[in-house]
């Protein structure tokens, strides 16, 4: 829902059509979307979730919020009354619809909606936003393309093949436990159009014939394989459960998983590691090393009781390039309820001490539960680091998912290599004896240019 519609006004550089009257033909929904929504956002976590305009409790009454939540998975099919515009106005490209499940996690997406709806279309009509398919549960999709209130109902399209309609925006903004999640909730377009075809067919003949005008759901209108399988490196991201605590981890060798100390804090503790790709497997493991609380590197290493079969092992990076496209793959937000989420961004900073990278910062959306997960270079797929934390402003309590910190893999690689070759933990023990400048960086303080001078 948006704000008061503004008067018809000029589009960005081109005149807008005057608003055309339309009639409501159908209200459409996808029962599978609503079922997955109830599973992921309902239950005991229901009261933690807020969507779109309902984020400001003081602005929306409980009834209105309830109405909005009920309408979240519903869409409207309208028939626009013919206008006087010249014939060419009535033509325009038919949109192609991507089949459900055809777009893999991590695939780039383009969202096109109008922030604030009809309030200011001459400025905001068809504003674009880019991201990736972060996660999916049947027709319920999540993207990290950032959308604003008013873009509900806007289309989300693939980059390849160009312009295939994947989904419509169901809820542009999500808050969980008052943390902005930075993900947009989508409903896949294909099942909605199937519901429309079925429903129109059951209505009076004059309307039923409209079903033939609905865009076809095509593998690919261009005969291309719709999309290659998603990036192979997402498979290395695993879920780590240690008692009641869970987080993410990354498989770095067939029997070795790296995670965060705050996920698996105690050496010799038994942990459960869940792999979801290429198939769902659960393997027990044991924490063979965890850094001390005093170490700035929040790291733990788990040795598995069985090999990880068919999981491609990530290649560790040797260099870091600020500005490069990166992806985080973690179990934040949904944890065990569905596979890992992929969020995209850039490597926003590489913090060095004595010319050695000791901290990586990215603009990906990182949420609670993603700790311990892998940070990859999007194009090369090499493993850049281990996600350790995002940012909270203690004064305002606000959390910034898009500012987060990772431990460079170059810090861990020598110790990992030594342990894999000899079983010696000596390299890991070095992580407990980092220099003061490294500690200062991870305490988010400015490295001292020089030792403070005594005033005496």
């Amino acid at each position: 829902a948006g704000l008061e519609p503004g008067p018809p006004a000029r589009s960005r550089g081109r005149p807008l059509q005057s608003p055309r009257p339309a009639e409501l033909l159908l209200l459409l929904s996808c029962p599978a979307f609503r079922a997955h929504f109830a599973r992921l956002f309902g239950g005991e976590t229901a009261d933690q979730w807020r969507f779109a305009n309902a984020a400001r409790d003081d602005e929306v009454s409980e009834d209105e919020e309830e109405d909005q939540l009920r309408a979240l998975g519903w869409f409207a099919l309208l028939r626009v009354q013919p206008g006087q515009e010249a014939a060419e106005e009535e033509r325009g490209p038919a949109v192609a619809v991507a089949p459900l499940g055809a777009v893999p996690k991590g695939a780039p997406l383009l969202a096109c909606g109008s922030p604030f709806g009809a309030f200011c279309p001459d400025i905001f009509l068809n504003t674009l936003s880019r991201g990736v398919l972060s996660n999916s549960a049947g027709p319920l999709l999540l993207t990290d393309a950032r959308c604003l209130p008013g873009t509900e109902g806007g289309g989300v399209f693939t980059a390849r093949p160009a312009g295939a309609l994947v989904a419509l925006v169901a809820a542009p903004l999500c808050w969980k436990a008052r943390e902005w999640v930075g993900l947009t909730l989508l409903c896949a377009a294909a099942p909605l159009l199937r519901a429309a075809r079925a429903a129109l067919g059951g209505l009076c003949p004059g309307i039923a014939s409209l079903a033939t005008l609905l865009p076809p759901e095509v593998g690919t209108p261009w005969g291309l394989p719709l999309l290659d399988l998603g990036p192979p490196w997402t498979a290395a991201s695993v879920l780590v459960e240690c008692g009641t605590v869970w987080g993410s981890g990354v498989a770095v060798a067939p029997r070795l998983v790296v995670t965060c100390r705050h996920v698996a804090p105690r050496e010799a503790a038994r942990v459960l590691v869940r792999i979801v790709t290429p198939k769902s497997v659960t393997i027990w493991g044991q924490v063979v090393f965890a850094t001390q609380e005093t170490s700035p590197y929040d790291i733990a290493v788990v040795s598995l009781e069985e090999d990880l079969d068919d999981v491609p092992m990530p290649v560790p990076a040797e260099h870091f390039h600020e500005g490069e496209a990166v992806s985080v793959v973690g179990f934040g937000v949904f944890g065990q309820a569905c596979g890992p989420s992929v969020t995209s961004g850039i490597l926003s900073a590489v913090v060095q001490v004595d010319d050695t990278p000791v901290m990586l910062q990215t603009t990906c959306a990182v949420h609670g539960g993603s700790s311990g997960g892998p940070l990859f270079s999007t194009h090369s797929g090499v493993l850049l680091g281990i996600v350790a934390s995002n940012t909270r402003d203690n004064n305002t309590g606000a959390t910034y998912p898009h500012l987060n910190f990772s431990i460079p893999i170059t810090v861990l690689q020598p110790a990992l290599q030594q342990y894999c070759e000899t079983g010696d933990l000596g390299g890991f023990r070095q992580l407990d004896h980092t220099t003061e400048p490294v500690r200062v960086v991870w305490r988010l303080q400015r490295p001292l240019a020089e030792a403070p001078r005594s005033k005496l």
């Binding site: 059509q17 010249a86 279309p121 409209l210």
Partner: protein, 110 residues
């Protein structure tokens, strides 16, 4: 946006639109609006978010919670529902231009 996005952007912008809903004869009662996708231009078919017509449901929003329901007919909403669709033309056209400043929106310096 990189080259890979050019034709996606054009395709997205050519089917994008905004939809507003209001009560007949009660424009002061406020209105709701959202974005939408043009599925067909002649005759015009648009898919938009259902949240903007939920306030007009004769049976209230409870009708949206019927288990397994995949659609509701158009007459589920009251007759005073007025819908309008607006989109950018696929070619220049002499549509109305408005010079009036827009109320309520401002761009504060960061």
């Amino acid at each position: 946006m990189g080259r890979q996005w050019g034709s996606s952007m054009r395709a997205a912008e050519q089917v994008g639109c905004v939809v507003s809903a209001s009560r007949a004869d009660q424009p002061e009662a406020g209105s709701w609006s959202c974005s939408g996708v043009i599925l067909s231009r002649s005759p015009g078919l648009v898919l938009c978010h259902g949240g903007i017509v939920a306030p007009f449901l004769r049976a209230g929003s409870g009708a949206l919670t019927t288990a397994g329901a995949a659609f509701l007919p158009g007459d589920s909403c009251s007759d005073d529902l007025r819908l309008h669709v607006q989109w950018a033309p696929t070619a220049a056209s002499p549509a109305g231009r408005s010079e009036r400043a827009l109320p309520g929106l401002c761009t504060p310096h960061c």
